[in-house]
Subunit: 260 residues, 2 copies
Amino acid sequence: MTTLSEVRNTGWLAVVGLGPGNADWLVPEARDVLLRATDIVGYRTYVDLVPPELRGSAALHSSDNGEELGRARHALELVSSGRRVALVSSGDPGVFAMAAALFEAQSAETAPAVWREVDVQVVPGITAALATAARAGAPLGHDWCCISLSDNLKPWAIVERRLVAALGADFVLALYNPVSRRRPTQLAEAFRLIRRHRAPTTPVVLGRDVGRPDEHVRVVPLSDVDLDACDMRTVILVGSSTTRLGAGGRVFTPRWYPAD
Amino acid sequence: MTTLSEVRNTGWLAVVGLGPGNADWLVPEARDVLLRATDIVGYRTYVDLVPPELRGSAALHSSDNGEELGRARHALELVSSGRRVALVSSGDPGVFAMAAALFEAQSAETAPAVWREVDVQVVPGITAALATAARAGAPLGHDWCCISLSDNLKPWAIVERRLVAALGADFVLALYNPVSRRRPTQLAEAFRLIRRHRAPTTPVVLGRDVGRPDEHVRVVPLSDVDLDACDMRTVILVGSSTTRLGAGGRVFTPRWYPAD
């Protein structure tokens, strides 16, 4: 049986943000943690994102999408047996990713005492909104919101309520998880709301696989957004009333806001 | 006189996010750009954040806070004379930082043609909200907003409107620039609104100088927040109705949201 002192002395657990996946945008702390890990746990696509030279001889534990809590529990079991565990997410692990699932599993009433003692380290990463914004210019230069359009884990009414509030208060929007095979109609519903609150000329940025070899970033006016071109790997940034196109087609939201 | 082809062949301009300032959280692309720059331009505090080994023999151009547009113009002048320029910000340069000012200067009607031709590179960084969240747990695990409380460049009425909208729609809040000597009362006004919408037990994270040697992170219930302990170097994360304290005092916002 594993004792608490063994856990303290040998095992550790880090929830690691891989950023978009390119080495250029991976923070050194993530590199270091990956190189020292005995076990790398994550959604298959993200485990595959870990550069081979950083995997070393670590055991790879890939699982399917939608199994976040199971993955978190597996990571807690591994660290409880003294392993050095990197639980990986793309982007930042705290933004619509594995860190919340990990703390939920660790804090559950049914969680073993040994899990609760684990001092989890969170290694931040470049989340998709920042990566896409960097390629497009500075669309997030003023107040902005991060909203997941997925209603797998929340009622669609909450998504709508948040969209309406953010649009009404003229935030820039960063929309994650815009569409999936199981949710084909919701992006269109979101854009019906967006078009009600924003001018047709509002700059919209569609970033797909930003920071990866197949990166594709488009800047289009709201009137021309092609929703069929968006999938789960797309992040969508929708400008506020002040967001504009500048030199060279770069999008930016000025730091100032006009008085009424 | 500098020609466009000279600019294209020799000079470049990158707006670089330093992250919080620690080498562990500086992306490799930022390192690389700093090492190749002939000139490093920025607010004095941020130029000082650049690790000496990355400054090399670059000329340092420090200026005071509040001179963002002047700094941006200076960077554009330098690149237009063929220099390799790193314009530095802490955190992510696109979030309440220099990238928007740069594109504003570059896109101004009065901007010289040679400025408009500069192909600006934006290097993303770990913004303070992500850094503070990583230390606290996963408070940004669900929909969240980034709001600057500074009314130097926007009317306070806009700040209030956005706070009320974000609170009403139950977003987690990340508050930047909470207070300054010129704006001593606004944080208290913001918290009056927050206390009207959130329970006294709501977890609040106060992160000061996160990622720097004097890092100080506190997690307190909303009822116990000491506003006098906040300054311009503090980022404040305010939980939603679902944000909770978990094992080991870590704060997280679950990925799910209850149906009504």
